[in-house]
Symmetry: C2
Subunit: 314 residues, 2 copies
């Protein structure tokens, strides 16, 4: 790899002299002294083994070699300016990309609203949302493919230490019934009532399903006795199934806001049982945090966080 025979400063000086037609004026323009300019040009001429300026008369005139160099000089300096601008844009969030990871639920119901708000504030940052399993999302954050993510499940142990995990919000998994279900007008059910219901659930691989199962089990219920009508792999499908009267389900409240308002499904409380899960923000502390990521974490997330979230403080 060859050494560079000139510096950007020298090119800048060359350009200034060419524009001003004088070493002195160029020096004034660049806020340096005239000898500094003279020396830099001398160095440049020495290194390139060419004469750049005719210093004959009152004005400094370009030689042929000087004109040739000036052409490249202009192009190079323009590229530099452009690079600076691009970097500035990136810093001021007028560009760049933010990659957000999320689980199915948050990715479907929460993230779109967050991203909408973010894009409203920073329309020039392109945002990419990657909806994957908790596990895969965790790994993506670990190796830098994702800037930050919201997950609802439990990370594998090794990732737990590697990543920064901040409790972000509490997501209630509400028991919902078809609106014409006999139990749907009751304010509160007993745990035992659950055994009378037919459930439409997520498939058993899903993090949300696992969370629900664990909570029900922990509260003393025998989940084997619960009747599962069908297992679907999409929350939307489950919602439709419930609305169609096919059964009950535990669904994240964020996913059924519209349906609850429209009255097409009913949410019922269960005595002594709250099915809730912690949504957690995960980031990779050992990796570079982009401005966009920083801003998203500081300004956007708190607006959607529940009251208990540590993010509320910032």
């Amino acid at each position: 790899m060859p050494e560079l025979p000139f510096t950007l400063d020298q090119l800048r000086i060359l350009k200034a002299i060419a524009a001003q037609g004088s070493f002195k004026k160029a020096a004034d323009l660049l806020y340096v002294t005239q000898p500094a300019v003279s020396l830099q040009i001398q160095n440049l001429e020495k290194q390139l083994e060419i004469t750049i300026f005719d210093r004959g008369g009152r004005k400094a005139l370009l030689t042929e070699a000087g004109r040739l160099l000036l052409e490249y000089c202009e192009r190079i300096l323009n590229q530099c300016d452009e690079a600076c601008k691009a970097i500035e844009d990136l810093n001021s969030l007028k560009g760049g990309t933010l990659v957000i990871g999320a689980s199915q639920t948050t990715g479907t119901y929460l993230m779109p609203r967050m991203i909408g708000l973010f894009r409203q504030k920073y329309p020039d940052v392109s945002v990419q949302l990657q909806v994957h399993s908790t596990r895969r999302t965790g790994w993506s954050v670990a190796n830098g493919q994702i800037d930050l993510a919201i997950i609802g499940g439990q990370l594998p142990g090794d990732l737990e230490n590697l990543l920064q995990v901040i409790p972000y919000a509490t997501d209630e998994l509400a028991l919902v019934l078809p609106s014409k279900h006999p139990l749907s007008n009751k304010k509160e059910l007993l745990k035992e009532d659950l055994y009378k219901l037919n459930f439409v659930t997520l498939d058993s691989q899903s993090t949300t399903r696992k969370v629900v199962d664990k909570l029900l089990k922990d509260s003393g219920l025998d989940i084997q006795r619960l009747k599962i009508e069908m297992e679907l792999n999409s929350l939307e499908a489950i919602k439709n199934a419930v609305q169609s009267g096919l059964g009950a389900s535990f669904l994240p409240v964020v996913s059924i806001e519209r349906e609850l308002a429209a009255g097409t499904i009913h949410k019922v409380f269960i005595a002594d049982l709250e099915v809730k899960r912690e949504l957690k923000l995960i980031t990779n502390p050992s990796r570079y945090t982009s401005r966009a990521s920083e801003v998203f974490k500081k300004n956007i997330l708190p607006q959607f966080a529940s009251l208990e979230s540590p993010l509320r403080e910032s």
Copy 2:
């Protein structure tokens, strides 16, 4: 004019690290120490207020900002390389332009051969020949529009001091007669014989004409008594006129080599009279001398110079 937030060296280092995936390897590649690389990148990051590399693991990975900068970096460095190559080409005469000035005579009969030889040796240098009066050529050399010139006449006094004038060759202005002229078979004429001839001459403005007039006058001839059949402004026209038997003329020998060989015109000597003029090389010592000009002066001109020329020495 804003200060530049980075240097070419920094960009070079950035590129090397990105290519090698390691600070150390980049340092080795660039023949500098590792801390030098680290510091340069730190400065770059500080100045641009961005993080360029993820130094998390074993490898140095580019951040988004880093990738953005690298793109510009490559473009800028490419331009720099191109500029270097262009300058090198210019230095090694693989490019550039040589502007040569000449009077009518040398421009028509001498220069084309010289330029041919030059172009044979340096086919990538474009050569421009400007045929003008001695006066105008002198001024063009003075203000740098012409790199070097061969003139046959006398420069205005003010230019004489400003420019470097080197005697280059002696150009004989031979007396030529139509081949069927009664005097054309004589070996030598007497000065008085000139009064018997009809002359076809250049117009009285021309330098060559003035030179001839002066020499004849100095040798004791009364130029008023010489019969001038016609005045033409082109040597070629005069040659044709002589060949057609319209009269005699003093013509530069270089311009009539072919005609003498073919015997279509005759050259005759005059006793006690040599009509000769000095062809002079003029250059501008206060101006930059291009490589092409240097080479032309040193390598090409001597090959066509007469024995007495100082250029023969070099």
